[in-house]
Symmetry: C3
């Protein structure tokens, strides 16, 4: 109906780029192009290779969505991209070898299909799928490395036998390091500079979100310290990143006016990610798999599900 | 609208107490204050500490339900309490240390939130959630003990390697011990006196229920013996408690007039808890986790789900 | 209302026989009496005992459906039988001992109940249950063998520790062997003659289905070879049978006209069964369990679910 004006093509490219960058920002539950761009820079600071993989994964996820005929609105919100971003990055980090990038990008494509499938399977529950597809897909591919010669596991992943497991919590804890590493760990980054930049990206998405991120992270670090979590993991931010995502999800993004105690619920949920992270890590020890963002997914599902029956939460 | 009469406050306390005691009786699928009270006494006989934990857990579960704004009818039926009772007791028993009671009661609170979440997630299936939240929550916290210094696992839980596993079924089997221990094991009790008292509590809840409990337990013990289950476990009632719960659920509590073969189905389901218990225990061996009431949950879901498609069962 | 004519009884027997043979053909997603009969002969060629178990299991599954009051149409399509066929055969093969046949046939009966339950639990998703009941039931019973003296695991199932796991992919690969063994492995058969007969049975069910089976199988074998899968497993067809079932399901049986890229989707899904098989096998290694048709179920659910959100797939 409309006449083809110059700039329409640019408009399509711009809208595609916007969807892809939102795919990056949706990893922390924010739909915002600038937030996505800031995070991309934060990743690039740590590793240009990883940044390229992250961006291409977002593009691939968005493409699969368009090609498969997914709902335009979902695609434009970046909802077909964020699981691809995380999957691509995780595979690039945990799988060694010269063809890793192919596996990472293939994984990003499958992540988008998995995202669509989970959207269907959880539709009736009215609960968001979060990063479940990324987690399960990454676990599967890492496990597959034990049986396929072409995939070599990073040496950081070592299966351990629970019958010989000894807990060692010695080491100093620096709260500030823990806090900035926590937010960075959402994107597998443990340098302080990237952490600060991602914090800024969250604040850009909403001042409240940034504040909640600080609160959730601090609460989890304190709980992890009190319960005697491994200090090395606390400093690396590994007890914090799930708490950040959880409080943002429970207290802000998926909250409505019925939820009178949303902030309190979010703080409790953030604290619960600590025993969930510990329990899940123990369960994964014999396989040498990382917990990824599963503690966030479980704690958030717990509270979002409970809210449907207990509306005050 | 009504004038405040003396006794209203008493009424509230009484109704709260009633909901809490029903939370205890709902563990065996019965909604009855006296049954709850008799069970509480049975627990106290075995250990006053455990009895106090059980009661406080029921109270906490009910409080979380009220505070969260759950449906009043569900709360009054004790449906927000029974998973809390079991979680509090299990943590008090399987976690060592002087602050165990705090962990047990915190676990009881989370169990109520988990119960609400599961009610939502299973709403469309029209199948009851049973004790699923208690089981999964307890497994998670026990696993977390491997990674958190503040939690110490009871020495009765030892991870074992399937590659070195040897089955040893020697030992005498005393059917009567097995029967009374079976019902007691629902509440982690293995003394005969408590078992007898809980049997009385079940009969108080309904003569049929008591009779079914005897039948299901006997069937399971015989099957466990024939299939060559470990005699030590049979005597402790560990092959019986799931069968008791299952036959009560399948043949009585969740039965309606369409189900022509409800008793036969319940007996078969009770027998199936034996291989399910064995299989699940083998799966949990490397983690040193107990099967808890998961065989009951699985066998009951199996038959209640099948009934929706095969209405004669 | 009608008068009893001679032949009615024959009609009932014939319809019952038809439902049972369709139960065998439904294992490869085909509803066709002749296909079922050809497969039964293929099994008999390999082992008469196994053929008898397969047929009796189909009969038992159908009987349980009738007895339980399941929908007549489902029963007549063989939908209550195929999980029983696979369960009976798997137990006959993986459990040793003189009473194995009783366990196999009891397992077949339970498989039909599990099938009904899963039909109910997945009804709202509008996604078929496939062979999920057979897989989970068989895993449970094999695990139970570690704890029950009466069940002895076949020596082919050995639990292995991932901490000491070494991948060995040496050995020659013969593509033709891989192809005929692949289709046979759906029924646990690894002789070439049976494989050829089952291929004929598939072609009888539909020329397109046979063609797709060849394509899916070849694609998976190539991917398995490129990714460095164990050559011994490729030759045995263990990287192919899931791909065959998957492409038949995704590209033919559960396809409708909206799915523009159904063949491409099926080929991708078939290729995905390779990393899924590898990952699942690694996960099952510590338990010594076979992957069975779980990779098919997961890859097919992935694409059928995704299609509901991305209708082009």
């Amino acid at each position: 109906m409309e006449t083809d004006k110059p700039g329409i093509m640019d408009g399509k490219v711009a809208s595609f780029l916007s969807a892809s960058l939102k795919g990056i920002s949706q990893v922390i539950l924010i739909e915002n192009v600038i937030t996505g761009l800031l995070i991309l820079i934060a990743i690039m600071i740590s590793s240009v290779y990883l940044g390229v993989i992250a961006f291409l994964s977002a593009v691939i996820g968005t493409l699969v969505g368009k090609f498969g005929g997914a709902n335009e609105e979902s695609i434009n919100q970046g909802l077909l991209g964020y699981n691809s971003v995380l999957t691509g990055m995780a595979l690039a980090l945990f799988i060694n070898g010269s063809y890793t990038w192919i596996i990472a990008l293939a994984g990003a494509a499958v992540a988008a299909i998995f995202t669509a499938a989970m959207m269907h399977f959880m539709k009736n529950t009215e609960i968001p799928i979060l990063t479940f597809p990324f987690i399960v897909l990454t676990w599967f591919i890492l496990l597959a490395a034990y049986k396929l010669k072409a995939l070599t596991l990073s040496s950081s992943l070592v299966p351990q036998d629970l019958t010989h497991w000894e807990l060692n919590i010695t080491g100093k804890v620096n709260l500030l390091d823990g806090i900035f590493h926590g937010i960075g760990q959402v994107f597998f980054l443990d340098n302080t500079m990237s952490g600060i930049l991602i914090f800024i990206a969250v604040f850009w998405g909403g001042r409240k979100l940034g504040l909640y991120a600080v609160i959730g992270n601090a609460a989890a670090i304190i709980i992890a310290y009190v319960l005697g979590g491994e200090h090395a993991l606390i400093v690396l931010g590994l007890y914090g990143y799930n708490a950040i995502l959880t409080i943002i999800a429970v207290s802000a993004v998926f909250k409505n006016q019925h939820h009178r105690y949303a902030l309190q619920s979010g703080i409790i949920a953030a604290c619960l990610t600590v025993p969930i992270t510990a329990g899940l890590s123990a369960w994964l020890l014999p396989y040498g798999l990382p917990a990824l963002t599963m503690p966030f997914v479980l704690a958030t599902w717990l509270f979002l599900g409970a809210r449907k029956v207990m509306p005050n939460l």
